[in-house]
């Protein structure tokens, strides 16, 4: 075989480095999110998707928005990527060249004057329940115009963005639009392959396993029964938006009942109490509720730099169902478990241990995830995202009245309660697979949340 001369060697190295520039290794948490996506697709026909809705005090120009989206995705082709496996078996996100970028679907609706709020909610539910057209499509936009307002929803694939990342992505769109798409943003996409420090990963896996064994003592936990897999996406959402005064009151109440800065445990305790009322009314009794709590591992300052992929970890908490009508008991149980899991470094251990799961094919991973809790993952999901990462008061010239999330909770459990804050005002959303709750039960959960908070 002819020996390569120096120029050819340099050229082949350049070609190789170009090839590696177009890939981003997936972390263990990214791979878990891929597993949840697979499970949710099997159960509902659509993946682990979520939606952010901007309520705007005016009409947004749809053509301008379309053009802006077009320009944005050409700057960030990562949004049209897809998962693949490298020669070293680590999964990675293949970032396409600019020529192969997939167009973002954009839908536009006008609602008659006098339309009810429920009509807007149905349209938003329809948008978040619509599956993506291909494995390379991870975003879709819907614009709903009413008489005086607009509702812009961005449906996103959790494999590409997590909740706060999605808020920051909309912020990026606004900043790019402001700078006429000349912004030089310091966004990091690179990620090492994490194919070293195996002992550390195995030790983390051991710790996570011990925790899961403790939690699974009385497995399976209490869950609302899912119907046999219906191959249509069918999530419903109920939203409560609190005023600034009401939100300040909630913080005061949390300080008083749960302790200083113990807002998240307080919101979670009230959510457990609300869900417990439904389980009790249905006669679903047993030992424990297990709640999986998504925790964003970035500081607020880092969100703008780490927009893409998943920067998450989890708390797994077990709460005795026999005492779940007592808020003080729930609070103490939550606080002491969070404290123990932070002290033992569990959040970091979940991240490290998940790296070991990357070798697992997705079809097997989705089974492995639900193995410790005998077919379940949790009784319900919960998260509190804190103040939004979308910092601008305006979006493309229109004032932003509110920003809310509508996440499709991975199935199982297919139900969750999620809180976030927009300019100091809380929003709570109950998200559930249609057959899990009746409308009356969903209303009862919201009423309990409102009355206790």
């Amino acid at each position: 075989m002819r020996k390569l001369n120096k120029i050819e060697k340099v050229l082949s190295l350049l070609e190789l480095s170009k090839k590696f520039r177009n890939r981003r290794y997936l972390t263990g948490m990214d791979w878990i999110v891929h597993g949840l996506d697979q499970m949710t697709k099997q159960a509902t026909g659509a993946g682990n998707m979520s939606q952010i809705v901007l309520e705007l005090a005016g009409h947004l120009d749809e053509n301008r928005l379309k053009n802006s989206l077009e320009q944005l995705i050409h700057k960030y082709p990562v949004v049209s990527g897809h998962a693949a496996r490298a020669f070293n078996l680590a999964p990675y996100w293949k970032i396409p060249s600019k020529k192969k970028i997939v167009r973002i679907p954009f839908n536009f609706y006008i609602i008659n004057a006098g339309a009810k709020k429920s009509e807007i909610t149905r349209l938003l539910e329809q948008s978040v329940n619509t599956p993506f057209n291909s494995e390379k499509e991870h975003l879709a936009f819907y614009l709903i115009k009413t008489e005086k307002k607009s509702f812009l929803s961005m449906t996103f694939d959790h494999r590409l963005l997590d909740g706060r990342g999605a808020e920051a992505f909309l912020g990026l769109l606004q900043d790019e639009w402001n700078s006429n798409f000349n912004l030089v943003a310091d966004i990091s996409i690179a990620e090492p392959s994490h194919l070293s420090h195996w002992l550390q990963k195995f030790k983390a896996g051991q710790n996570v396993n011990r925790l899961l064994l403790r939690i699974a003592e009385n497995a399976p936990p209490l869950v609302l029964p899912l119907a046999p897999a219906l191959k249509y996406p069918d999530f419903k959402f109920s939203l409560i938006s609190f005023s600034k005064d009401e939100s300040d009151e909630i913080i005061k109440k949390a300080n008083k009942k749960a302790g200083y800065l113990m807002l998240m445990p307080f919101l979670l305790a009230v959510s457990v109490l609300s869900m417990h009322r439904i389980f009790s009314a249905r006669g679903i009794t047993g030992a424990d509720y297990v709640v999986s709590i998504g925790i964003d591992m970035r500081s607020p300052e880092m969100v703008e730099k780490q927009i893409f992929f998943n920067n998450l970890s989890f708390f797994m908490l077990k709460i005795s169902a026999y005492k779940s009508d007592d808020l003080t008991f729930i609070l103490n149980s939550i606080k002491s478990q969070i404290y123990d899991q932070v002290r033992s470094g569990m959040l970091k251990d979940f991240i490290e241990a998940a790296m070991l799961l990357r070798i697992t094919p997705l079809a097997l991973l989705s089974r492995l995830i639900s193995l410790p809790l005998k077919g379940s993952i949790s009784s319900f999901g919960f998260s509190y995202l804190g103040e939004t990462a979308f910092k601008s008061n305006k979006f493309m010239g229109q004032e932003v009245i509110n920003l809310t999330h509508m996440p499709r909770v991975p199935v199982p459990p297919g139900i969750g309660i999620f809180f976030q804050k927009f300019r100091g005002k809380f929003n709570a959303v109950l998200s559930y697979k249609q057959e899990l709750l009746s409308d009356d039960e969903a209303n009862l959960i919201l009423l309990t949340l409102k009355s206790v908070l």
Binding site: M264, S299, I338
Partner: protein, 102 residues
């Protein structure tokens, strides 16, 4: 007003000076740790700023408590402390000092 020389050099004032030095040292340790937890520059963090204004939330607060318990070998969770004891890094430093002395 300047204190008389015999007061300045009294053992009591010496004790106060040592105490202030200890509290400052604890404050410094806490500032460095909260800077790590919040991914911020320690120079931006003032000990008299309330924790909620620094951007400390439930999780970062628990991380700070865990750090304090490990570093200073004291039990905070079951100690019946109130919001006033944890309001700022300054008050936490005094609380730690009191608990260590007692």
């Amino acid at each position: 007003m300047r204190l008389p020389e015999e007061v300045i050099s009294s053992p009591f004032i010496e004790d106060v000076k040592i105490l202030m030095k200890t509290i400052k040292k604890i404050e410094e340790i806490l500032i460095n740790e909260i800077a790590v937890i919040l991914s911020r520059d320690p120079a931006e963090i003032l000990p008299e700023t309330p924790l909620n204004e620094l951007g400390v939330d439930s999780l970062s607060f628990v991380e700070l408590l865990v750090f304090i318990e490990k570093k200073f070998q004291i039990q905070l969770m079951e100690s019946g402390l109130t919001k006033d004891d944890f309001h700022t890094l300054q008050t936490i430093a005094s609380t730690i000092n009191n608990m260590m002395c007692s």
